[in-house]
Amino acid sequence: MKPLQGLTQETHETDALLRELFRAEMPDPWPPFQPPATFPAEHARSERSSLPSYVGLAASLLFLIAGLVAGSYLLRADATVDPERGILPSAARPIQPGKQFRPPPAISPAPPPGRLNPMPMPAEEEPPLSFSYPH
């Protein structure tokens, strides 16, 4: 480097210090630039991946609307139940064709009172009619 003229001893010493500082600070060896190899692929993937997210959003919205419609239909079906007459014919579930109607199993008659509790139970003490505080 060509030295600057008209400078004092101190400035020459400063030159040496500055040169030393900058050389110590500069990376050695100089690192090469590493272009991001994944950048174009990531860019393309981000464009591609945005499509399924929109589809997913639309599907979930449709599912939500279908759920709301089905729910409101069921609520309307519940409204046809008469508290006195039971389920109205319009709301009763129709019997599927090809499937025979099976009546519910008959309830067996109640057993005689003695056989209901075969284990003898200890007789309960009757509570006293009057109550007094213990002293």
Binding site: M1, K2, L4, L7, T8, Q9, E10, T11, E13, T14, D15, L17, L18, R19, E20, L21, F22, R23, A24, E25, M26, P27, W30, P31, P32, F33, P35, P36, F39, P40
Partner: protein, 180 residues
Amino acid sequence: MKARPQAAASRSAEFDALYQSHSREVWGLAYARLLDGELAMDVTQEAFLRLWRQWNAGESIINPRAWLLRVARNLAEDDAKSAFRRNGTHAPQSLDLVQGREALPLEKLLAKEKRGLLRAVLAELAPADREVLTLRYALDYDMKTIAEVLGINSEAVYMRMTRARQRLAARLTELGVAGP
């Protein structure tokens, strides 16, 4: 089908050439702002990465050198401001003067101390003066090239250089680092 890889290879070679010719001066301008070699290198890489992205996006840059220098300056400025917020009024490298637990060889310690003081004195100068000094002492640029990089005339470069060196010399003499 072969034209596309060839174009990409030629673009990559062009970019490499750009990096080889200008990365040091980009580093120099970043260093002049940050006074930290590693941070300046990070800024340099970031500036070139941004240029790479612009090229990949198909945007044309008429003067890549000027573009890079401007981006590096802005990045370094932003980083310096955030470092100021993090560390208060002192740059992080001012902690270099704080002695660590492990003992260093005396010469290494003295050199490190001198460099720390020099950095502290450099930090007192205006960023424009530091830019001139960095390009001169780190890259051995002459006045004309410095003027070209900074977009100013050679007289202004000479004035800044002389003023900065005189200030530095005076401060270093005061601190007992240079002079009698």
